[in-house]
Amino acid sequence: MRLLLVEDDSMIGEAIRTGLRRDGFTVDWVHDGDAAEEVLRTQPFDLLLLDLGLPRKGGLQVLQRLRARHETLPVLIITARDAVSDRVQGLDAGADDYLVKPFDLDELAARIRALLRRKSGRTAPQVEHLGVMLDPATHRVTREGRDIALSPREFALLQLLLERPGNILSRAQIEERLYGWGEEVESNAVEVHIHALRRKLGADFIVTVRGVGYRVRPAA
């Protein structure tokens, strides 16, 4: 899951990025409103973490512009402004959730998972498909009740594929959502991860659609 973090304080931004990366998220980070607009226009993200007190362009303005373009990207506001009127204003401007600083990293991660879950139209926190169960909160994957050990990247890839079972994702799409800026992507990285997943979950769990991409085998 690739997130965009917009936060002007370098320490807070650094800590959030480090923490969320450990939780398996791909986090890209910009420091001001202008930069946020720029990357939101050109790159795909699964969720936006938005601070309100930003230099150059306020967070609310970024949010309003985003919604004006009919973007459905889930937005979680993280701010020190805690007045009820601020929250109302933020939510009314199109935010999906609102978290007041100082907040707990675990809570932030939980809220991000909840937003992503809602976005994919599910209500249960765990994803289940053909006997494979994925828990985004605990990063546990089981197959027929048995634990399967996955690397963070493998986990992220599986989560991506299970988001809409049957949906085909191209290699470029997978790379884009698995790797943040500045992360070195080996040319065959996706193939390596797919291979590992097939080894752990069964060769037919992931299907290659030749010339198009990958998808999980649809439920019969």
Binding site: M11, I12, A15
Partner: protein, 447 residues
């Protein structure tokens, strides 16, 4: 005697008594003068009457024994000096008399005497002065007694009148007493005596100024609380990342970040404290100080910090310059400027500090530099500088330039400005070394 009522009572009653006494004295003097005229007339009349009487008549009992009130004593001498008649034996009258009026002192007090010479004898009529004095005193006393009797009444009247007049003051006291400490709206000044009006308007003025100060403090508190949230959020998150760190390298990294976060929180609190201490100090503890020496102290203190960042920090120009001010506050001012410069200048940069007497056009090379000129403090760095459009805003509390790294407290220049204002000094921002960087100039008025 701090009660207005008692004070007024004492003053007014005292005044009345004094005036009464003075009045009685005047009445007494007047009465005495009148009694003198009256009795002198009678003395003379009696003497002249006796002169025209035959001696025999006088020797007879026909002479009125004399009114006790008048207490006349008549003596008649033959021309050869033999006392031929004495109306009443009276102790110690002068045996011989001058003609006309005279006053004689005897062991029985002073007597008024009138002497007249007839053909064959000398007649003397005398009267003790105390008769007149008693009469005059009686009169004066009669005037004074009603006064004295009325005194308690007057006292009561004054007591109540003053009480009544002071009632608006009591109302005001009650109003102030029952007032909540947060209520800073002006006191009502309608229906107040003219004398109390200035006090109330002065109080209202004070309340208003107090209100402004409180408002500012409240704003500062709110800002400060808000600002504390940022470093605390960072600390909280840094703690979490430390707790989640899996490898030793991650742990070390998280520890370093946490430590930086703690340093930043400490710095913010210190800066807040410096600003808070600055506010009420305005105008206190002024002394003549050497700006160049203060600058040298601060630079010496900051050199290790600059060395750690490989920044060439030094004094580039220094001449004796005096300012009138608070040493601790001025040190804080200089330290903030130098600290800012060292902090934001890239490694290997330069920070120059100079202190000098201002207005170099004036001949101020008197010993010690104590002239009519002010002083200048300048801190110049080779850092990123401050964009022209940002320069007016950087003095605002908690204002940080976008993209500034490392994140500061946003208070440094606010503290500088606050201290400069308290010293009547101005702060100017210009471009620094070779058109780059920042030059901060603080101009102090003549001290």
């Amino acid at each position: 005697m701090t009660s207005l009522r008692t004070r007024l009572l004492v003053w007014l009653l005292g005044g009345v008594v004094l005036l009464g006494a003075a009045g009685a004295w005047i009445v007494y003097r007047n009465a005495l003068a009148e009694a003198d005229a009256f009795f002198d007339y009678h003395l003379r009349e009696t003497a002249l009457l006796l002169r025209d009487q035959p001696v025999q008549y006088m020797l007879g009992p026909a002479i009125p024994p004399g009114d006790a009130d008048y207490d006349f004593v008549v003596q008649v001498w033959s021309l050869d000096g033999i006392l031929v008649y004495l109306s009443r034996p009276h102790a110690v009258l002068p045996a011989i008399t001058t003609l006309g009026f005279s006053t004689a002192s005897t062991s029985e007090g002073r007597w008024r005497v009138y002497g007249v010479q007839a053909v064959t004898r000398v007649i003397q009529v005398a009267q003790p002065m105390r008769v007149r004095e008693r009469q005059a005193a009686d009169l004066a006393l009669r005037t004074l007694v009603p006064f004295a009797l009325l005194m308690p009444l007057l006292a009561i009247l004054i007591w109540f009148a003053v009480g009544h007049a002071l009632r608006p003051l009591q109302r005001l006291t009650q109003l102030v007493k029952t007032r909540k400490e947060t209520a800073l709206d002006p006191l009502p000044d309608a229906r107040l005596p003219t004398e109390v009006q200035p006090l109330v308007s002065a109080l209202n003025d004070l309340l208003q100024r107090l209100g402004a100060v409180l408002e500012r403090e409240r704003g500062f508190m709110a800002d400060a609380a808000h600002e504390l949230r940022t470093p605390l959020t960072a600390l909280h998150l840094q703690m979490s990342t430390l707790a989640r760190a899996g490898t030793e390298a991650e742990r070390a990294d998280a520890m370093a970040r946490l430590s930086a976060g703690v340093q930043r929180a400490i710095r913010l609190v210190e800066q807040l404290l410096a600003l808070a201490q600055q506010e009420p100090r305005v105008g206190s503890e002024r002394a003549k100080l050497r700006l160049d020496e203060l600058a040298r102290d601060v630079v010496a203190e900051m050199v290790p910090v600059a060395d750690a960042r490989h920044i060439d920090l030094g004094i580039c120009a220094s001449e004796p310059a005096t300012v009138l001010g608070d040493a601790q506050a001025l040190r804080t001012l200089i330290r903030n400027l130098v600290d800012n410069a060292v902090r934001y200048t890239p490694e290997g940069g330069t920070v120059d500090v100079s202190a000098m007497a201002s207005a170099p056009s004036q001949p101020i090379h008197a010993p010690g530099g104590v002239g009519q000129a002010g002083s200048l403090l300048r801190v110049v760095d080779s850092g990123p500088g401050i964009a022209e459009q940002e320069r007016s805003r950087v003095f605002d509390r908690f204002y940080r330039q976008p993209g500034t790294s490392p994140p500061g407290s946003g208070l440094g220049l606010a503290i500088v400005k606050s201290i400069a204002d308290a010293h009547g000094a101005s702060v100017a921002l210009n471009s620094g070394l070779a058109g780059r960087g920042l030059a901060v100039t603080v101009s102090f008025p003549p001290g």
